[in-house]
Amino acid sequence: MTEKSGIRSFPWGKIIPFIILLIFSIPLILGIYWIIISTFSVSTRGLVPVDSAGNPGGLTLANWSFLADPVVWKLTLNTFILASTQTLGVLLVSSMAGYALARINFKGRKSFLGSTMVLQAFPATTLLIATYFVLRFISGIPLIKVFGYDTLGGVILVSIATQLPLGIWLMKGFFDAIPWDLERAALIDGCSRWRTFRQILLPQIRPGVAALSVFSFITGWSSFLIPYSFLTNQDTAVISTYINRLMQDTAPVNYSLVAAVGLFQLLPVIFFFIFTQKYLLAIFSGGMKGGS
């Protein structure tokens, strides 16, 4: 019923948004198309695959031969460990902090909330150069040196820390939106804060947790600057730094090969995104209905 009145109200409604979206998306569509084409080409002119002499044609699978290289799979594993571990870390730390900021009245609550925003403003340069000193310092401490310079652990910790301001803000927002009746009853009945958090509130913000997971995993999977700055060891390198090395090492850079490795890194993320996108959009509508 409302659907029909919608169509009457917006006679242009179904077509114009499509056209505007398409126009704005042209560079992306062309660029992605080119990446896919070029991974199967010797070279490209515009969007046309060409052979080494510059004539149309030149389709090849040679760019994908890197898949037989065990080093690539080692890097893929590293990238996965980095992305998934830092995602768990971000979720845990920021949901705990978000809960406290949304629900517990403590001294310095407001200033911490305000400063999470300020934290995001710290220049990456600041963090990179000075964090290098911090990681070097951690490396010198026996028990926690696995989180020091040139370790995956160190990169994971730095990654978690840089995503905290965003995570805490989002989580706090989700907790704020939850009606407090359930939790109040539980607390008054003597349920501990930790149990209330885990058993009553966390299930309520599942869509928020899913959304933050997607953000965080994608960030970790494709991150470049942090691993590039703090991982020099080839054994702990990730795909991003490998691609960068490909672009620097080979004398005339084989862009078709770089695009192929890039597509290899991109595909799992796209599948991941396709299957979790509904969580992202259910963020506000879904999770809140239960409690109220």
Binding site: L101, L157, S222
Partner: protein, 334 residues
């Protein structure tokens, strides 16, 4: 409603002395704390430690080193204190003006046109077309953010390259009879704004989409029944309903644009006059062709960014009356 909240407040002002013993209300104390007094420390602890180690400590290090002449010439042991010399050098440096100019242009136009403007447009458009199509477009716009930055930049280099390689030149400019050119060299500002904007738009798009989808279907539909057109609907229903996400995205993206340089570094490495302030600091302090690192001066350049950014934050807090938005914790005040 009034009755209800008065009733609830009388319940919450009672406190629980022994959590495990259940319903023991101590009406006399009127304390406002539920549960253990130090619960917040457990919840905030991990975040506070990480913030202390990876935000506060590095910033202190930046300001300390900015007062030294530490560089690759002095090494880590032979440096000395030089007071404000690095800071004075910033104001007398002949290149400072150019770096300020490009930074302002880059941040302003990327923010207005892409990170907020286009993001809002994308969110509104993709929520007003069939679900599957909206999903497809949002997925497409997330590709720049999730694409490895080196590959993303390589894509743009190819898009903007001169003929016979460049895609824009081959597909649009050449067939239409325009001069072809190396677009990055000919229009470097447009290049860096486009490259960053196409990444930046997706952040706001996701946040705005979630917010728009969360607007009650009743409100949305009643606006249709009342005969509101799309512009009225945006102005009177969507924008007021997503005020908080709009503020969040604007604030967040301004601050992160000021400090971002990764894409520009890979695209132009600061040539054609595109060396934004943060890239300048990075080049001075961590990475340049000559291997001559001026840690002291680079840290002072970064320190300027920290100060400017904090200033921005305070202005935002005041402008948006953030303290009003930061609500009291529900569980203890109601």
């Amino acid at each position: 409603m009034g009755l209800r909240s008065r009733h609830s407040s009388s319940v919450t002002t009672t406190s629980v002395q022994e959590p495990n013993n259940g319903n023991i209300f101590n009406i006399d104390t009127g304390k406002k704390t539920l549960g253990n007094k130090y619960d917040w420390l457990i919840f905030m602890g991990p975040a506070m430690i990480l913030v202390a180690v990876f935000f506060i400590a590095p910033v202190i290090i930046v300001f300390i080193i900015s007062f030294t002449n530490m560089s690759s010439l002095t090494g880590f042991s032979n440096w000395s204190w030089i007071a404000f010399e690095n800071w004075i050098k910033i104001f007398t440096h002949p290149q400072s003006g150019q770096h300020v100019k490009v930074t302002i242009i880059y941040v302003f136009f990327t923010l207005i046109f892409f990170n907020v403007g286009l993001a809002l447009l994308l969110a509104i458009l993709t929520t007003h077309i069939p679900k599957a199509a909206g999903f497809a477009f949002r997925a497409l716009w997330l590709v720049p953010r999730i694409t490895p930055v080196v590959v993303y930049i390589m894509m743009w280099k190819y898009l903007m390259a001169d003929s016979p390689y460049g895609i824009f030149n081959e597909i649009f400019f050449k067939p239409l009879g325009f001069e072809t050119s190396e677009i990055i060299a000919a229009h470097p500002y447009i290049a860096i704004i486009l490259v960053n904007g196409f990444i930046g738009a997706s952040f706001g798009m996701i946040i705005f989409t979630s917010a728009i989808e969360s607007i009650s279907k009743d409100i949305m539909n009643s606006s249709l029944v009342d005969g509101a057109n799309i512009f009225q609907r945006i102005k009177y229903i969507i924008i007021p309903q997503i005020k908080w996400p709009l503020m969040f995205v604007t604030t967040f993206q301004t601050l992160s644009l000021i400090t971002s340089f990764e894409q520009i570094m890979i695209l132009t490495d600061g040539s054609y006059g595109t060396e934004v302030w943060s890239l300048w600091a990075y080049h001075k302090g961590l990475n340049n062709y000559f291997g001559q690192f001026q840690w002291g001066f680079g840290m002072a350049l970064a320190g300027i960014l920290v100060i400017i950014s904090i200033g921005f934050c305070i202005a935002y807090l005041k402008f948006f009356k953030f303290s009003d938005m930061i609500q009291e914790p529900k569980i203890e005040t109601l």
